[in-house]
């Protein structure tokens, strides 16, 4: 262990961590904006038939190794942060879409029937009944994606995306254990922080009627 190198690595953390967080937050936001509407769409009776196809495509995306996705986006989107985010979005879609669908299907059909029987329109049932009741499951999907994106995000450095991956790559290239430890350690801490943070959000957004059970 070399004390100077540890300090050197730590001094680069604020910048790389910021980039990493931006990368994760942006790709999660895009993934949420795509996946939740997709999940809602695929649970509507009219469009149910597309469900299997859509989920299989997402499954294939998910099955690609993170490294490969990142490498594959390079020829299309070039180098830098943008292609890295693109690759992360692709990887983050599935858990959120899958949980959105599971959450919406999990809403007790008698509750939906009662809502329909009272004369609530489809849109109103979605907004006031289905989404609130599916929210805990959807948020769990977002958590899964977040942790995933934080870790795959370290690979973004290979295509010039920056982030904590830079520290790890430097460590590997120079065989500096200190850089490896600092880069990987902060990556892990960031993943835990996202998980805990989102779990708190989940707790706050869970419909109050559920917490009394």
């Amino acid at each position: 262990m070399n004390g100077v190198r540890i300090l050197d690595a730590l001094s680069r953390v604020p910048q790389e961590l910021t980039i990493h967080i931006i990368m994760v937050v942006v790709s999660l936001a895009i993934a949420i904006a795509v996946s939740i509407p997709l999940g809602v769409f695929l649970t509507r009776p009219r469009f149910k038939k597309f469900g299997v196809v859509a989920m299989n495509i997402l499954n294939i995306f998910q099955a690609f190794p993170g490294m490969a996705i990142i490498a594959l986006t390079m020829p299309i989107l070039g180098l830098g942060l943008k292609p890295a985010i693109g690759a992360l979005v692709v990887q983050a879609l599935l858990p959120i879409a899958r949980n959105t669908i599971a959450g919406l299907y999990g809403v007790d059909s008698s509750i939906k029937e009662a809502a329909q029987g009272m004369g609530m329109s489809e849109g109103r049932i979605l907004k006031e009944v289905e989404v609130p009741l599916a929210l805990p499951v959807i948020l769990a999907g977002i958590r899964t994606s977040a942790v995933y994106v934080v870790s795959v995000g370290t690979l973004a450095a290979y295509i010039g995306g920056g982030g904590l991956g830079n520290l790890i790559i430097t460590g590997l290239n120079m065989l500096w254990v200190e850089f490896l430890i600092v880069g990987a350690g902060f990556g892990a801490l960031l993943a835990i922080a996202f998980d805990r943070g989102l779990s708190y959000v989940e707790f706050r957004l869970t419909p109050p009627g559920f917490s009394t059970k």
Binding site: S121, P132, L133, G209, T212
Partner: protein, 375 residues
């Protein structure tokens, strides 16, 4: 008034109709109970009335207007709907749940709040305590009450109830039924009520429609159905005890006779003379405070006097029937049960103040036979 004309429903991918050629008329203010085994199509009929299911052919009319002419959501907003699972929104409070339909109608906040409190009170729930609770904090019976309150929120003239009391235990169910009957006597709504329990049908229905395999077998008043079951299916469905079931249609004061013969304890030595004088088949013993405490029949008296029994023996005999007193609002089948329990052919019928009438086994038999006979 709800009318169904030649209504048939065949579900997609099936060849056997779920409901076939149904023609049925439910008068204004009438409770019609649809009853039949599972899968007989009774819930399907209910849902065709509020267009949750569209019929394959035929017409459904409410107050002479084809339901297909109204927007489904508007239609449903004007029909109360209660299902067995209740379907309260678990993330909304009781007040918010009851307020759903009024808010769909665009009522103001204060009007909704006032109506919620009114309904909670009507349903025997304390508004202060209940309105801010979530459904998960309520008991089964309370949930059902909230479910019914929610369906009645905008006072709809028509209500559809699909096994509304099916999910609670028998004691709570019976209480909910009684309360709902009491409400219905005042509200006179037009109600379609689905159940698979013939006893509930007899209790709740002004008329009963019995279904099997998508077809209407018999439609009539409970009395018509019990006394003239149309075929073996109806007979089987009603059960072996159909005459006893018929007794559930009458209360004790419908057939009990007034002016029971009464004797005080200190008059016991005179009992023979008194009974002869009044020509009564039974005499009730009352204590000094006027509280009835037993009875002696003419037969018993004759036998005991022949055996030379004294006052003490007669008193003992009377006291052995000390439980043979019932309320006038009891149903005849329950009264019959009392008679068997206390091994007596006579029961004293109490009103608020004291002994008012006498009910005899002969009266019950006559009632059962007479009702069996007339149309």
């Amino acid at each position: 008034m709800i009318e169904l004309h030649d209504v048939t429903k065949i579900y997609d991918g099936q060849t056997v109709p779920a409901v076939e050629d149904l023609t049925l008329k439910i008068e204004e203010g009438e409770t019609c109970v649809f009853v039949g085994p599972s899968g007989c199509g009774k819930s399907t009929i209910l849902r065709m009335i509020n267009r949750m299911i569209e019929q394959t052919s035929g017409d459904v009319l409410i107050d002479g207007k084809d339901v297909r002419e109204t927007d489904p959501n508007q239609l449903r907003m004007s029909i109360g709907y209660v299902i067995q699972q209740i379907g309260l929104l678990p993330h909304r409070t009781v007040a918010e749940n009851i307020g759903i339909v009024p808010r769909l109608h665009g009522w103001g906040k204060d009007r909704v709040a006032a109506r919620v409190d009114e309904l909670l009170e009507l349903m025997g729930l304390d508004p202060e305590e209940t309105r801010t609770k979530f459904p998960a904090q309520l008991s089964g019976g309370q949930m059902q009450r909230v479910g019914v309150a929610r369906a009645m929120a905008v006072d709809p003239p028509v209500m559809l109830m699909d096994e509304p009391f099916g999910a609670v235990d028998p004691i709570v169910r019976s209480r909910l039924q009684d309360e709902f009957l009491r409400l219905q006597r005042e509200m006179r709504k037009t109600i379609c009520f689905v159940t698979h329990d013939i006893n509930e049908a007899i209790k709740m229905g002004d008329t009963i429609a019995i279904f099997t395999k998508g077809r209407l077998v018999q439609h009539g008043t409970p009395q018509e159905i019990l006394s003239h079951p149309k075929n073996e299916f109806v007979k089987d469905f009603i059960g072996q005890d159909r005459v006893v079931k018929m007794l559930t249609l009458f209360q004790v004061h419908n057939i009990a006779r007034p002016n029971p013969c009464i004797i005080r304890e200190n008059e016991l030595p005179d009992i023979g003379r008194k009974m002869q004088q009044e020509q009564a088949p039974v005499i009730f013993l009352v204590d000094d405070s006027g509280k009835p405490c037993g009875l002696i029949t003419a037969e018993d008296l004759e036998r005991e006097t022949a055996n030379g029994a004294g006052t003490e023996r007669l008193k003992e005999l009377a006291y052995s029937k000390r439980g043979a007193f019932i309320g006038g609002d009891l149903l005849l089948n329950d009264a019959l049960s009392y008679m068997l329990e206390w091994d007596t052919d006579y029961l004293g019928v109490m009103n608020g103040r004291g002994l008012a009438e006498v009910l005899s086994m002969a009266d019950i038999r006559e009632c059962a036979c007479r009702k069996e006979g007339d149309q």
